[in-house]
């Protein structure tokens, strides 16, 4: 009996082990994530990273300025000037396109207005014709009745 009890206890512990492992790894992950979260929001971390990025930016600006002095001396066009020119050309192209589109939109609006007015005018002119047709229809029917009465 005791041996059987011991066996069942061993089986139970074995069954429990995987669950504990999963639980432990999830909690370890959660702990690491929390720690990383706190560290990446800490002012020390933020200021250090900002400092590194700033240093890199200033280094790049300084080296570019030194090169610009050299290229200017050699009378070679600068990349910054080329970029400014490209930007200005693109601006001009877009403004022209914008004006073109505004003009086209006005033409479309005018056409729609004309279609709308034309439709209204058509409605106005049709009605008298209908009246005239009605009148003539009525008079015809009267005549026919007269004829039938005579008959």
């Amino acid at each position: 009996m005791e041996a059987k009890l011991q066996e069942t206890k061993i089986q139970e512990t074995k069954l429990q082990e995987p669950k504990n492992e999963v639980h432990n790894s999830a909690s370890v992950e959660a702990m690491i994530e929390q720690a990383l979260d706190r560290w990446t929001s800490h002012p020390l971390f933020l200021n250090s990273v900002a400092g590194l990025i700033n240093f890199n930016s200033y280094r790049k600006i300084l080296s570019r300025k030194v090169l610009e002095i050299v290229w200017t001396q050699l009378q070679v066009p600068l990349k910054a000037d080329q970029e400014k020119m490209q930007s200005a050309i693109e601006d001009l192209e877009l403004r022209l396109k914008k004006l073109q589109l505004e003009k086209q939109a006005e033409v479309v609006k005018q056409r729609k207005q004309e279609d709308f007015n034309g439709h209204e005018r058509f409605n106005e002119t049709v009605q008298p014709l209908h009246l005239h047709a009605k009148k003539s229809a009525i008079s015809k029917s009267k005549n026919s009745r007269k004829i039938s009465n005579l008959n």
Partner: protein
């Protein structure tokens, strides 16, 4: 979809083909209707709706998240009922550091929007904005309410003071924004991707743990790979736009403070007067749920509808539950706005 649209995502796509996966990412074939700089206006469908629909995707990752797979395509769902247009922001060029948000709105978006109205001979269009595209749509609706039939905001940030990692990082005052823009021009895609992935550093491990037991499931693997293709496929952000977003929105929180200044005028959120709908995700770690649009922030809109979904930034729109429950409701709302638009504005 034209493979040119894919950037670094192309590598993952090609790799997955080598392993026998036939991923169809962005299966719809659009037509390029117009171009403004590097930005393209794409037409996906022509339908007999009264007002066309313009989708404004986020400025950061690529637009095909909205057409990720044939069975998970928000675009395809809208194409059945509307003439659908979409702005592909394209890859910014070197001179993009001078492209501010104001210029983007006044020139590029103006040209593309006017082209949509001209193509459809319409006076107004519905705008559906995703994430930062919603911010652009919101700005446009404030500038030109007479040209907007309705505005739909999908996981769009409004209150940038809501607690979230990006806000903490962007508000680091020691970070010299002007020097960064001067040095790098456009905000590099690697910089932005690193920031996004660092928001949840263990997410990659968790994804692998989730997918490993499902290696035999072809469909699940394809979905996972499609999403990873998109998630790794980012592009540079124009320097001017990046600076404006960080300064005006993350640091100054302009919607809730001094308003947004453009063309010599200041625009406030409370002045919005077009019908608005919003879809927000409760577990969104990129756009905090507490920072999405609330009805009290837009008191003058004739109609306001807000749907809240479970899930994160992407799952909140493309998950199974939003697809079954929110998409049909949103479509119904759009069709209702379309009908109202004809009734109120049919006079020529």
């Amino acid at each position: 979809m034209d493979l040119e649209v894919l950037g670094s995502g192309l590598n993952l796509l090609e790799r997955s083909k080598q392993f026998g996966f036939n991923l169809e990412v962005g299966s719809l074939q659009p037509e390029v209707v117009a171009q403004a700089g590097t930005m393209k206006l794409l037409r996906f469908s022509k339908a007999a709706s009264k007002a066309p629909l313009l989708i404004v995707p986020s400025l950061i990752n690529r637009f095909y998240i909205l057409d990720l797979m044939p069975e998970k395509s928000f675009l395809r769902h809208l194409c059945e009922h509307f003439s659908v247009y979409l702005i592909d922001w394209g890859e910014p060029q070197a001179h993009g550091k001078d492209l501010s948000l104001n210029k983007l709105l006044e020139l590029h978006l103006d040209v593309l929007y006017s082209t949509v109205l001209l193509e459809e001979e319409a006076d107004r269009a519905h705008i559906v904005g995703h994430c930062l595209g919603g911010t652009m749509g919101l700005l446009w609706s404030l500038l030109h309410p007479e040209k907007v039939a309705s505005l739909s905001l999908i996981t769009t940030p409004i209150d940038f003071s809501a607690d979230c990692k990006i806000k903490t990082w962007a508000q680091t005052q020691t970070f010299d924004l002007a020097a960064f823009r001067e040095a790098h021009g456009n905000a590099p895609s690697l910089f932005l991707q690193t920031a996004f992935h660092s928001m949840r550093p263990l997410q990659f491990v968790q994804k692998i743990k989730k997918i490993l037991p499902q290696l035999q499931n072809q469909k699940t693997l394809e979905r996972f790979l499609a999403l990873e293709t998109w998630s790794s496929d980012s592009r540079d952000l124009p320097g001017g736009c990046y600076a404006d977003l960080v300064q005006r929105f993350f640091r100054d929180n302009c919607w809730l403070n001094e308003g947004y200044q453009i063309a010599g005028e200041t625009y406030f959120l409370k002045d919005l007067r077009v019908p608005v709908s919003a879809i927000s995700a409760e577990d969104d770690h990129i756009v905090a749920f507490a920072g999405t649009l609330r009805s009290e922030q837009v008191p003058l809109v004739p109609q306001f509808q807000h749907w809240v979904t479970k899930g994160g930034h992407v799952g909140g729109l493309l998950g199974k539950s939003p697809q079954e429950k929110i998409w049909p409701l949103h479509l119904q709302w759009l069709q209702q706005q379309d009908h109202t638009n004809v009734r109120l504005h049919s006079a020529v």
